[in-house]
């Protein structure tokens, strides 16, 4: 089941995947923003996606339908971020 609370930060392997996922979310009416990748989360020099908190299931469904390589899902917590573990 999807984590129901908090905004998700999606990290991908490549800017190609970031833009591919962004396009897919927009096509499916999921509000999405491009943000600089938080430095504490990745040594990459690029961007990540944030998705609206109420559409987690739709996000996961969209990701399952694409070849975009999702590296991890994070959420902001006090003092930093924690990985969202999906069971």
């Amino acid at each position: 089941m999807a984590e129901p609370q908090g905004e998700w930060i999606l990290l991908f392997d490549s800017i190609h995947d970031v833009l591919g996922a962004e396009r897919l979310f927009r096509e499916r009416g999921i509000r999405v923003d491009l943000v600089p990748t938080p430095r504490t989360l990745s040594a990459d020099c690029g961007v990540a996606l944030t998705v609206e908190s109420s559409r987690h299931d739709a996000v996961l469904e969209a990701l399952a339908s694409t070849s975009c390589r999702l590296r991890s899902i994070q959420r902001a917590v006090t003092g930093g971020y924690e990985e969202v573990r999906l069971s």
Binding site: S14, I15, V18, L34, P36, A43, D44, V47
Partner: protein
């Protein structure tokens, strides 16, 4: 001025291509995929848009497997050096450009590779039946087969579909050099069993020189030619395994890719079949006009159904270079010589004579230009008393 050298590089472009390049260079002016600021993202969107549009144009399902290169030559080198191993045997047609033949000749020396000819001759560059027999007689012998989509000398379109089917049946890696004819000569990556397709940006797609692309069926099957920064997995000192990053080390040519992307969009909006139709009308007129000039020999099929808008001719007993120079003096630019394809000229029988004069057209040429050039050529070749 009349420009008949579009097979060397596109000589006229829609103004939107230059505008797209200038926008990328002066207004976006950032490195794609390297930073999180808005200009870097804008740059990444330009690259992504060009990649998706080109992938869609060639019928590629996953645009990640389409990587940008500086030209077709780079893509061909990546595949040949990446796929062909020590002691392998490969097949190449007699009409391959030096972009294929020189890497193969190097591999002969460096890796003991054997390079065999695809059976064929002047009138039938690829003899599909003879190739089928050869592959039946030598099962498992060949690692890769390289075939040009269309000859850059005669414009003849090669039987990619039939050859691809044979490659698939025999488990041979099928490399297609689409420097000439990409988007114009019909291909289907799936149906034709193509494993790698190397393209250039500055010919049929009207993009700038210094741009190209390579499509790979299995990105993991080919190691990258270059290793370096990609903006991704920066904490790992090894090259990423995933495409397109795996093949795009170093800063990309953003203005070039912006121009290529705009060229592809223009190509799609105009329609490949519309462009081909216009160019074929020019080809027909040129072929007919040249055929009527006494002493002139045309090379190639002379069949617009299987020929791009390229015409090669020679005039036995006359120096082709001199004729091209006299055409240039009359404001007509064309290319004379071997066109970096000595094997093709060897097969056509034009090698010892110094090659051919090649006229290559684009949709921007006019019927009037063809008539003017033919009149000029008649004048140049008219017997002097």
């Amino acid at each position: 001025m009349i420009y008949f050298d579009h097979a060397a590089t596109c000589g006229q472009r829609p103004p939107s291509i230059g505008r797209a390049m200038l926008h990328a260079l002066e207004e976006v002016a950032a490195n794609p995929g390297r930073s999180g600021h808005r200009r870097s993202i804008a740059a990444a969107r330009i690259v992504d848009g060009a990649r998706r549009d080109l992938a869609e144009l060639i019928g590629a399902n996953d645009s990640a497997n389409l990587v940008f290169t500086k030209n077709a030559t780079e893509g061909l080198n990546a595949v040949l050096f990446g796929v062909v191993r020590e002691g392998d045997a490969v097949l190449a047609s007699r009409f391959e450009h030096n972009a294929v033949m020189r890497p193969l000749r190097h591999l002969e020396r460096a890796r003991g590779v054997r390079v065999d000819d695809i059976p064929g001759d002047r009138s039938r560059p690829v003899d599909v039946d003879a190739l089928a027999s050869l592959l039946r007689d030598r099962p498992g012998s060949y690692r890769l087969l390289a075939l040009t989509l269309a000859s850059n000398v005669t414009g003849e379109i090669m039987p990619v579909r039939e050859v691809g089917s044979l490659c698939r049946r025999h488990g041979i890696f099928f490399l297609v050099d689409a420097a000439q004819g990409a988007g114009l000569a019909e291909i289907d990556l799936e149906r034709d069993g193509i494993d790698a397709l190397a393209m250039t940006g500055h010919k049929s797609f009207m993009g700038p020189p210094g741009t190209g692309a390579l499509w790979l069926r299995e990105a993991a099957s080919v190691p990258p030619l270059l290793h370096g920064g990609t903006g991704s997995r920066s904490d790992d000192q090894r090259q990423p395994e995933f495409a397109p990053d795996r093949f795009e080390a170093g800063t990309l040519n953003l203005p070039g890719i912006a121009g290529l992307g705009e060229g592809v969009r223009h190509f799609r909006e105009t329609g490949g079949s519309v462009i081909r139709e216009r160019e074929t009308a020019l080809l027909r007129l040129a072929w007919k006009g040249l055929q009527e000039i006494p002493g002139l020999v045309l090379h190639g099929p002379g069949d617009p159904g299987r020929q791009l808008a390229i015409v090669s001719f020679s005039v036995p007993g006359r120096d082709g270079g001199g004729i091209a120079q006299m055409l240039d003096a009359r404001g007509i630019c064309c290319r004379q010589g071997l066109h970096c394809a000595p094997r093709a000229h060897e097969t056509l029988g034009t090698l010892s004579g110094g090659g051919t004069i090649r006229w290559s057209f684009s949709m921007f040429n006019s019927m009037g230009e063809i008539e003017t050039a033919i009149a000029a050529l008649r004048e140049i070749l008219a017997p002097t008393v």
